[in-house]
Symmetry: C2
């Protein structure tokens, strides 16, 4: 839809901003803008200030780098969590994905990316040193590497594991296999191959 120059600068500015969000084209951005135009002014003020606060007031946990309102995040402050386990993830949304399973009660460490020579991301750009420091303090029995199954993820897994092999810590990764509900014929060959190699007893003895 081509409507440039027909409806004024403010609408076009707002459309441009909304269209900068991931997966949002100009048509959807226009829909958002017209939607906001129809809403009362105080609601739009709340909308704009929520976005500003998100950026200005959000802190990052000084221990695990998770999003937090305070110096340390809710998870790191929670005394009911298993402090001997650290799950290493790439980004904040991975913490959310794992938390939503309610299957993990340990702590996290967010790297803020993965090692990628192609994109110029070196270990120094990531929160790897702070992870090693946490481990050096002691009391950690398991590190769960929950990074993507890409070459970059594997590189990062390897880099971290090399840094801590001298310690008496179990290093694990997520089980890889056929997703529950998926059909074998639509599962990619590498995943299916891995799930055969890593098959487990049907009846646990």
């Amino acid at each position: 839809m081509n409507f440039e120059g027909k409806s004024g600068k403010y609408l076009e500015d707002a459309i441009m901003q909304f269209a900068s969000l991931p997966g949002i084209g100009k048509k959807t951005a226009l829909r958002f803008a017209l939607h906001l135009l129809r809403r009362p002014e105080h609601e739009v003020e709340i909308f704009a200030s929520a976005i500003l606060s998100l950026k200005k007031d959000t802190k990052f946990c000084s221990i695990c780098n998770n999003i937090s309102d305070e110096d340390t995040c809710v998870i790191c402050r929670d005394n009911n969590r298993d402090r001997s386990k650290i799950c290493v993830v790439e980004a904040i949304h991975d913490v959310m994905a794992i938390e939503s399973t309610a299957q993990y009660k340990g702590l996290y460490h967010i790297l803020g990316g993965i090692i990628s020579p192609m994109e110029g991301v070196s270990p120094a750009d990531l929160n790897i040193n702070s992870l090693i420091e946490r481990i050096n303090v002691g009391g950690i029995s398991e590190i769960i590497l929950a990074l993507p199954t890409t070459m970059e993820g594997d590189t990062t897994n390897y880099y971290i594991s090399r840094k801590i092999t001298d310690k008496d810590i179990e290093i694990t990764t997520l089980a890889r296999g056929v997703a529950i509900g998926d059909e074998l014929q639509y599962t990619d060959e590498i995943t299916l191959g891995q799930s055969i190699l890593n098959r487990k007893a049907f009846i646990q003895k």
Copy 2:
């Protein structure tokens, strides 16, 4: 994905606001919020102020009610447009949809809704009186009713046409190339363009 209470108030506020946009669920809202968090602060400030300006600074054209930066809109100010034709539409996005076809060179009149007894929208709630005033000034040869092909749209068409039948004005509607039930803003440009070219008399004489 359930992450409430895990990542702080500011993120949740921003997610709530994004999720108030049409068609946006919590998961997409989270994606928007995390995307903004990764962007530099000055970019997020521009984002927030564009939204505020959209609501605070956008004016509506005193003639046709289109969005405008000034007292009258670009279309009403344009001397190259045919001032004897007024296309009556429900909302601003309809103007944009018709403009993007480049098939119409007349003026517009935005009603700001359509007559809907079910939703309590009466003719007095709409910009119908200002349309009649524009017509009464004279110099109008054609009124194009480009309202939705719904019962409410038909009711509004009929109401407007009854108000101006005593005048020597041709009243036309869009050709029914637009599928019944479809909204103008989602109609492809060729169909919409054809439906403007093939507009027909509302009352067959």
